[in-house]
Symmetry: T
Subunit: 70 residues, 12 copies
């Protein structure tokens, strides 16, 4: 079995609905541009407030993609 | 355009329902006492356990308010 | 009142549904083996991705149990 | 039971006597200006040296106060 | 000499000119609302980019104010 | 000399008297359940406040025990 | 409004003149290869010394770019 | 598929030979007392020096074990 | 001398043999896709355990590449 | 007034009595070899355990000394 | 080529003018006492405030010097 | 038994061979200039890359020396 290698990308997903939805949304968008993502790790949870309400969750996360995929 | 200035407040929101609800609840209560909050950043997620069940989520977060608002 | 003492355990809960559900699931399983858990603190939120979708949330947390309980 | 909310304040207590005394002194002074403090967490212990002797302990700590108390 | 006590405030200064100017601007605005600031510590340096140029520096810093000043 | 191995446990000691007493109290209680503790490292110092007074120090620490002791 | 997504890139800008100039220089070079950068956050400030003089400032920063821009 | 749960243990492996050997040694000893370890993460690398030579490597690591295994 | 600029990439190298071999393997694979890497910095050392043996070392590291190379 | 410069030294004080005494002891010994120490900052509190009792406190701290003193 | 070795010193530079000037000033003073400094890394930026103005920047940095230079 | 005191030095060892060899090399060189080193702790592992190969490991570590040795 050859040694695998991976690259970690740091992405930001956003959602007006929930922090989990921001995770899912960011990963779905990243999948369109980077192949074969296999795990994520949240590094920060932020968000926007307007008129005393949370209007957007922004979750920053690292995602792993194969570096050597053909 | 004059330079703006902000103050960051660290608050704790709580909820028996979910961690996102604890975020929303803390921000709504902070809005009653501090004007014009515009973003938040989660610094810690904790909670209370009773009889093996999560009975309260406690989310600590920083929120930003205008320092120089008239 | 005698001085109490506690031990902190680091556990990982998992769920295909949500990060809060992963917290609840981990605590319920830990309760089967460790008595009298009274609070938790999230230390990391990770997860598994398959075909561009989040298939599992994995939440690492510290939980507190009484060290000196009879 | 309504959801409670808290604000964390970062204060510095000082004492020529001991680091625990600096904690107690800071909390007693903070109590004069902020109501209902219920816990503290030390974030840094520093101090002043003169002629090779510790002349002042300075303890930085976060303290929690009710945000929504009437 | 009675024990002094201090409160640390976290503020954000901004400037289109430089990061040092953002520090100075934030402190000058904070002085209008909080008395007797005596030191600051930078905790984060961020900024805004438009058309490939830095249009605003934002410096987050902690500043110390006397807690017990009459 | 065979290679030794150790396990680190994270415990919380409490005391109404002082933070050092909380360290000592936690270690004495942990000794009743884990053998041969040989060092500790403080990871956090917290405490409880009631009526503006510190009523309990809570010190979180890691302690080391032999993993392979017969 | 659809959910936006972003990617964070970590870049290093250099300058013999000043740390702010290193920030500006890095961002201008990154703009040539990555579109629509909208904010930066400094993660480290380093530099080179020769003959007791600072000959180069090196500022490491994260910059944000749209992940899903057409 | 039921939700799995894990416990993280923090252990210290030692070796006079190399840091990788300290990792292997600690894991082999931990396996005698905890079943089904599946991954490790190094948290600290230390060691002992005598007469200017490294006489022992000590690697602290977290290891994961199934919490709910029958 | 014009100001240089760099981009930091976070990669993961793996090896069944040793942690240094995982570093070398990751860098050799990254070189196939990114030109002119000039330094690395380890950010995490992890690995896989099977039957009480380390079967794979996984080293996460940042590597630096020229941003403005023609 | 010319610009002052300082060097920070990291020292370890020990005491069988208390953590504050370990601070004082380390500073008194450091004063014998380094002149004009003016402040300290605790970076770690550790200690030795024998037979379930704390037999030594070890406090690691940074101390500041004038770099340019004649 | 023999293996080189270095020592890192932590120094504090000060300036009433700017944070970059505090870096330069500290390095120039350190050069009088330590030979062959070749790089620096900022670890903290602080400063003094008087009457609402920044009167001194204090930059803490690590600098590298050859350990084995004849 | 009088209270001992120690000083921690931060050094960098280098080696073209391995990270453990960089540790050993740095400690052997530091021993020529500082007496009685008794332990080390790795704080960072870096290295140099040329033509896609690791040409030098650089390990930064803290080492402890007696402060009060005659």
């Amino acid at each position: 079995m050859p040694n695998s290698a991976y690259q970690l990308l740091e992405i930001v997903g956003t959602s007006p609905v929930s922090s989990d939805d921001a995770i899912r949304s960011g990963i779905e968008k990243a999948t369109l541009m980077h192949h074969a993502l296999d795990w994520f790790q949240v590094t920060e949870t932020r968000g926007q407030i307007r008129e005393g309400k949370v209007t957007q969750f922004r979750v920053i996360m690292k995602v792993s993609t194969r570096l050597d995929r053909p």
